[in-house]
Amino acid sequence: MTAPAGIVKARRSVAGRILDFFGRGVVNVVLIIVAVFWLVPTIGLFLSSLRNSTDNSQTGWWTVFTRPAQLTIENYANLLGNAQFMGSFVNTIAITLPATVLVVVIGSLAGYAFAWIRFPGRDWLLIVVIVLLAVPLQVSLIPIARLYGSIGLFGSILGVILFHTAYGLPFAIFLLRNFFTQIPGEMLEAARIDGASEWRIFARIILPLGLPAIASLSIFQFLWTWNDMLVALIFTNATSQPVTVAIQSQLRQFGANIDILSSGAFLSMIVPLIVFFAFQRFFVSALLAGSTK
């Protein structure tokens, strides 16, 4: 009875190998097609940004393959000389960096308190933070527009920074608190016995050991704030608007200005793409750590 089983098994493995070979080929082909579909949109935008407005209004970007002479960096040169657009670029940086730093600093302080200071009501407060994780930021738009209007923050970069900081905090606290609780308690205990203050423990033990989580949070918050449009659309004006809002306002005349749109959009993508490719690992960790936002 064992012999037929053996034959069957051998046959299966030969068939299996053949299948495997074809399977591998098919998988490769399928994934190459998928990769092409995922790449073409971005490549199309990039090639459009390298053609002048006349070419862009008459033919598609794929004609560069038959007529490479049309490639030009004219659009980028124009853009760099466009004071308003470059101003919006500066605004994006002026919003993103402080919003990221503030979230990291305030989030670490709170994360430490939640992880290592026992105070009455701690568990309830933590549950409040977790509830806040999923609050849609749209809820705050109308009330905060009113509030900012009455205290003179409407249209200011500071207002946008504070808004992004607040909406970044629940995730920051959640992520950092979870990470900080994994730091060995004996280290903190030893420091306390040596008479170190809470500040000292925070600065000398928690922050250095929490660096991987802080890096993940920073990357995440940076990309989030850099790429935001909605908050800036409402709370900024023509002089304080970031690059996303500047591009958005160009879309109203779509068709006549693909040169500005494509080069502007591509320029706005460069920084996030560099950050993404350089720190991809940290970005993934942040997503894994709190995929609820």
Binding site: K9, R12, R24, L31, V34, A35, W38, P41, G44, L45, G60, L109, A110, W116, I117, F119, P120, I130, V131, L132, A134, V135, P136, Q138, V139, L141, I142, P143, F163, A166, L169, N178, F179, I183, P184, G185, E186, L188, E189, E198, L209, P212, A213, N227, M229, L230, I234, T244, I247, Q248, R252, F266, S268, P272, F283, V284, L287, L288, A289, G290
Partner: protein
């Protein structure tokens, strides 16, 4: 979800940390009041910002949603009723429902397929980066990308350009919009767009169609120099359809020669006295045609209007009917990578000895996947799915950016409608607040799930 995947180095010492903490169950800081004060100092900035920018707005929105646009007249649930009776607002809610049904499930399934297949290729890292990359791009930039891709003009929009060229391969691409007959040759352009002989032609004779009004450069590549058709047999009518125009001038009007081009693929009908088409033929590459099988008698010969209608010009992707589909496609382009990365990390954290044991026992790959991998993966799949649902409920940027102004109302979702009614000209912050509360209510179940998951995590 805990930070489990996160802490490479902390993970190793994790179990021992747990033991340590259980032993050190006394409060790390002694002195209740001092502890509270210290905690408050650490928490104060966070609590202040959360309270002012999230806590207060929730309460204010609830209250504000009970008043009308002016904010002075109490309307109770009026705004909540308007939400479902105002056509534009109701449409945005309906669209959001479509989004929630379609987008998260598609992203999750694609992510799962990519993550599983990715294990079998050697360039997995490159593939992962390519599909994941759109996550780094702003939705505005993605919107510009998709708006450009799906432009209606097939000369500019890549998608319609591809469709038109694929369509061209299958239909032969015979369309000659704007063609009309040479004057004074007994053939006339009819009102319905067809071209017909004025008088009937006897079976067994010839009928030519010299046409003008089209550019020589728009002829299909297979068009050859026109030649006179072979003379007709008994039950046959033959002839040639050609472009009666010589580039650069010259040539005799209505006469073949001078390298005039034939028009391939033109349908030619023989019409009897009652107006019915009794037989038809199609022109060859040199423009000649032959209609056979005719009873003796006279027929009018015509070129039906279908030869001269505008050719296929692609699909109106950004029009009101299809624009939501295009925006969802853009969303999938961005978020499938998220699902893929999450699921891939779930797969790699999995102990594969079970799968190997099953393979040794002769289970097929599909059985292994269905019976072992998928069930083990379900917690990750659920997390991905929930994250995407929360995300899709509040979708704004893509919907605001991709549609041209004329189809924005048709594409609207709750968040866009909220913006429109309270900031974008509607000036009704009562209805806007009610929509904000609706969004909050819609994510409420997921907040509860988050809290429960967190509690379960801690009890473990």
């Amino acid at each position: 979800m805990s930070a489990s995947g996160l802490a490479g180095q902390a993970q190793a010492g994790r179990e021992s940390v747990g033991v340590l903490r259980r032993r050190n169950s006394r409060p790390p800081l002694s002195g209740g009041r001092r502890t509270l004060v210290t905690a408050l100092i650490f928490l104060a900035p966070a609590l202040f910002l959360l309270g002012v920018l999230i806590g207060y707005p929730v309460v204010y929105s609830l209250w504000r949603s009970l008043f009308d646009a002016s904010g002075n007249v109490f309307v109770g649930a009026g705004n909540y009723l308007t939400m479902f009776t105002d056509p534009a607002t109701f449409l945005s809610i309906r669209n959001n429902v479509i989004w929630v049904i379609v987008a998260p499930i598609t992203c999750t399934i694609l992510g799962l397929i990519f993550a599983v297949l990715m294990n079998r290729i050697k360039w997995a890292t490159a593939f992962k980066l390519i599909v994941f990359m759109p996550m780094a791009i702003s939705m505005v930039a993605s919107g510009v990308i998709f708006r450009t891709l799906f432009q209606e003009n097939p000369d500019l929009g890549a998608v319609n350009a591809s469709l038109v060229s694929i369509h061209g391969w299958f239909s032969g691409g015979a369309a000659y919009p704007g063609a009309r007959p040479r004057e004074n040759l007994d053939i006339t352009l009819q009102k319905d767009g067809s071209i017909l002989t004025d008088s009937a032609v006897r079976a067994g004779s010839e009928q030519d169609f010299p046409l003008v009004g089209i550019l020589g450069t728009t002829l299909p590549d297979n068009a050859k120099t026109a030649v006179a058709a072979k003379s007709a047999a008994g039950g046959e009518i033959t002839g040639t359809v050609w472009l009666d125009f010589v580039t650069g001038g010259g040539g005799a009007p209505g006469q073949l020669g001078d390298h005039k081009k034939g028009l391939p693929g033109v349908t030619v009908d023989a019409v009897d006295s009652s107006g019915a088409v009794v037989a038809s033929g199609t022109t060859a590459d040199d423009g000649s045609y032959a209609i056979g099988g005719l009873k003796s008698g006279s027929y009018k010969i015509g070129l039906p209007a279908s030869n001269f209608t505008q050719g296929y010009a692609g699909v109106s992707w950004l029009g009101p009917t299809l624009v939501t589909a295009v925006i969802i496609l853009a969303y999938i382009w961005i978020w499938a990578g998220f699902a893929m990365v999450m699921i891939a990390s779930g797969l790699s954290a999995m102990d594969i000895s079970l799968q190997e044991a099953a393979r040794v026992d002769g289970a097929s790959e599909w059985q292994v996947f269905r019976r072992i991998t998928a069930p083990l993966l379900s917690p990750v799949l659920i997390v991905v799915f929930i994250t995407l649902i929360i995300n899709v409920l509040k979708i704004f940027d893509l919907v605001y950016v991709i549609p041209p102004g004329s189809s924005l109302p048709a594409a609207s979702v709750i968040a866009v409608q909220l913006w429109t009614v309270s900031f974008g000209g509607g000036n009704d912050q009562g209805l806007g607040s009610a929509l904000a509360i609706l969004l909050l209510v819609l994510v409420l179940p997921f907040m509860i799930i988050n809290v429960r998951r967190f509690r379960m995590d801690r009890e473990r």
